[in-house]
Symmetry: C2
Subunit: 207 residues, 2 copies
Amino acid sequence: MGIAERKERDKTERRQSILDAAQHLFIEQGFEKVSMRNIADAIEYSPATIYLYFKDKNELLFALQNQAFGRLAQEFESVFTIQHPAERLNAIGHKYLAFAFEHPELFELMFVMNGPMEAVQARGEAEPWGSGRAAFDRVVRVMQDGIDAGVFHTSDAEVAAMMVWAQVHGLAALFRSKRLMIFSEARRQTIMEEAMNLFNQVLHHGL
Amino acid sequence: MGIAERKERDKTERRQSILDAAQHLFIEQGFEKVSMRNIADAIEYSPATIYLYFKDKNELLFALQNQAFGRLAQEFESVFTIQHPAERLNAIGHKYLAFAFEHPELFELMFVMNGPMEAVQARGEAEPWGSGRAAFDRVVRVMQDGIDAGVFHTSDAEVAAMMVWAQVHGLAALFRSKRLMIFSEARRQTIMEEAMNLFNQVLHHGL
DNA sequence: TTCATAAATGAACACCGTTCATTATATTTG
DNA sequence: CAAATATAATGAACGGTGTTCATTTATGAA
């Protein structure tokens, strides 16, 4: 049954080539340019062909999102070499921000766009959105370690992780959505850093 | 020159009726259904007519955004009856969250959608996005009052306001974008409240 | 009543996601 | 090898989007 296997392999390869083309479009041209027709052009196939490999565009975006979360999780993983919990927490926060700055289009895909999550909902699985959960769990682990080490004084690591996530995500999201336009361009950069620093400080001593 | 005045009045009235129709569509049907054609249908005019009153869709969205920020600013204004700075800060945070829950489509328009800010950029004014600035200034005022009263111990009220904004916005944005799907539906509500409570607590005593 | 100005529109353009009958290719069977 | 079958790919269409512009309609001035 070598033929069936090769067909299977061909199929996953083409599927991956569609994802690669889409990701390339995402990064190079921005999410607005990621249309089924543009993807089809990039791989030199007909638009209809994509629907042989993905149920619809949301499913394609969801697959792309999962890939992107893999990259973020990898970034997160690297902070566990840092010993001190507070420093480690600071590092993971900066990884999040750095990712948002360096890959704004992927950030949008992962944390802003509706499409991927609609695919998640359409699937209706019992354990939905594992890639997101996996990334968050790393933040929870950082918090739990800090609690266990007696550095953070709270009981629920998940709640603490949620607070930290919201803080960092809030900064990243407001920046990317251009809502920091109320500040001058020069101020925009500094106020984000200063807000981050203040948050760190507040974690230690309160406001 | 009574006629010219009436024409002027008619024009602003029609402009407003377009905005009203669009806002109604926004709230009742969601932002996806707000198309130039749907708005035109609602006011029983041709789509092309809207372009006599708005340069393009982004300008229309921007006008709508300004209206919505007026409502939020009003909500914010009501917290200044509260005397204690810490309580006042907590109240303004909850006003933000409540607005996001009660008017999810307006929240999207104000803080997530790209369209309105593209209009802001296209205008290229020296003092861009005054409505956003006005809302933020109220948060800054709360922080400054708290600093002056010796309740908050930091020097830069704007940076402190930025931190608070990011925290609250992060929660609201992650919720609306369905990224809290990593939690069970029941947990979603509680963890947001608990994260808010923890943040308040951290402001007082640190983590 | 004619003329000029302003307002409104129908039709078109180029895009979008998606579906489906038809065509082309590859594999299996007689 | 030829014919039949199964798989893969596609062209064309449908209904939607924002936007433009020549043409038509309505309104106030002469």
